[in-house]
């Protein structure tokens, strides 16, 4: 049972863990820990979506790991006051919007820049980008894994992308 549910998603699990923890070494620990949790909790698996179930465990393991080991570095966006959140959002959105269509049509960034920009995003913003673009999950699965309504997934994705575009744009100039 465990072999069919969790193991096939190991590569994805590892990728997600590496993006969330920020390094290969911690990612290994997280995946191993998540595998144990999955193994012990396999009875609770409802046979709906093995991939989402596995990634949910990895994600939650990564977060508890982060809180335990790097609690100072982790700022969860939901902890921000509405005003702060607004500010974050608007800096990202409207800072980028002033450009003319020609300027914003294309932008170039090498993979190091992108990696750095992604690492700079608050965890909840980074994870939707990783789940969507790297793991290529649909909104429904992302909502399930991150345990928020689809509407929240949509707005977080949109904001994260704006933030990334702003970050990458700043880096260039």
């Amino acid at each position: 049972m465990f072999d069919e549910v969790f193991l096939p998603h190991m590569a994805e699990a590892y990728r997600l863990a590496q993006w969330l923890t920020g390094n290969a070494y911690d990612a290994e620990d997280v995946v191993q820990d998540a595998a144990l949790r999955a193994f012990r909790g396999i009875k609770s698996f409802g046979a709906v979506n093995a991939r989402a179930w596995s990634l949910t465990i990895v994600r939650n393991t990564a977060y508890s790991w982060l809180l335990k080991n790097k609690s100072k570095a982790v700022v969860f966006t939901d902890d921000l006051s509405p005003a702060e959140q607004q500010e974050l959002e608007h800096e990202g959105l409207h800072g980028a919007r002033v450009e003319t269509p020609e300027e914003i049509a294309l932008f170039k960034a090498d993979s190091e820049d992108v990696q750095r920009a992604l690492a700079q995003l608050p965890p909840h913003f980074r994870e939707v980008i990783v789940l969507r673009e790297i793991n290529q999950l649909n909104y429904r699965d992302i909502a399930e894994i991150t345990n928020v309504p689809i509407g929240t997934v949509m707005s977080r994705l949109s904001r994260s992308r704006q933030l990334l575009i702003t970050l990458l744009g700043d880096r260039k100039s």
Partner: protein, 269 residues
């Protein structure tokens, strides 16, 4: 106001980029895209970001991780086999007593057979009726999608929709707003099932239209897909509910959860 319009555009653009818009909204968005240079530029930038992020080198699972996990699991195994294993043991102790098996089984089989065949007949009949109801409800949903608006009364305010139902129908359901759970109240309409007008509440979920039809109790149908739409049904003390949408069965299940959790709290009015 302008800001919220823009945010909405932003969401729609992202949903389109991710292939999460329903066909009608996608076509509408493409039409806008073709005529709006600024929007097109923003969309291109989004695509460009996606390409860049997706072309990042993929992290590979380090060699040996799988083996390490396997041995960690093996170490874990003896500790837990005890617990669930115990429970099934005592059953085996009862085995030698199954002497009079054949006679009892024969009698049981006869009774069982009779019950089954009569209930099959009943089930078949009910099944036909259910099919008609399910088809009528899906037809209502499709008609709603084809109409300029999928509802007769448009409002995201349940205090508008509920009285509207009350004034048009003998029985009207609770109309909870489930925006927090991802299902935004859009309005309500009256569908006709058999010869009876019934209340249908319309929600929007990530650009998909969700129709919730409320029927008198006892008319629930089986969960199924009809004409490409997923159908889910459940009942409470007052109504049988049938929800139709092109969203996945899992999303319909979470809709049911959200609706059931929200309705009892509104019992007062």
């Amino acid at each position: 106001m302008i800001a919220s319009m823009r945010d909405n555009d932003e969401l729609q653009m992202n949903a389109y980029c991710d292939g999460e818009l329903d066909p009608a909204s996608a076509i509408e968005f493409e039409r806008r895209l073709a005529g709006d240079e600024t929007l097109k530029a923003q969309y291109n930038r989004l695509l460009s970001l996606r390409r860049t992020v997706r072309s990042l080198p993929q992290y590979e699972v380090p060699a040996g991780l799988q083996a390490r996990i396997q041995s960690a699991l093996d170490a874990d195994r003896p500790g837990r086999v005890d617990r669930p294993g115990r429970a099934s043991r005592p059953v085996q102790a009862g085995r030698p007593r199954q002497r009079s098996w054949s006679f009892q089984a024969l009698a049981a089989a006869a009774v069982f057979g009779a019950v089954i065949s009569s209930s099959v007949m009943l089930t078949m009949e009910r099944y036909d009726r259910q099919e008609d109801v399910a088809r009528a409800v899906v037809a209502g949903h499709i008609r709603g999608l084809l109409a300029p608006q999928p509802f007769d009364v448009a409002s995201s305010d349940r205090h508008t929709v509920k009285p509207w139902f009350t004034s048009h129908l003998p029985l009207s359901p609770q109309v909870p707003d489930l925006a927090a759970q991802g299902f935004v109240l859009e309005g309500g309409r009256v569908d006709v099932v058999g010869h009876d007008p019934v209340a249908t509440i319309v929600y929007k979920h990530a650009k998909h239209t969700v129709s919730l039809t409320t029927l008198p109790r006892g008319q629930s149908v089986s969960d199924q897909a009809i004409a490409g739409y997923n159908v889910r049904s459940w009942s409470d003390a007052e109504f049988a509910y049938i929800v139709v949408s092109d969203i996945s069965p899992e999303d319909l299940a979470s809709f049911e959860r959200a609706f059931s959790e929200a309705s009892p709290a509104l019992e007062i009015k």
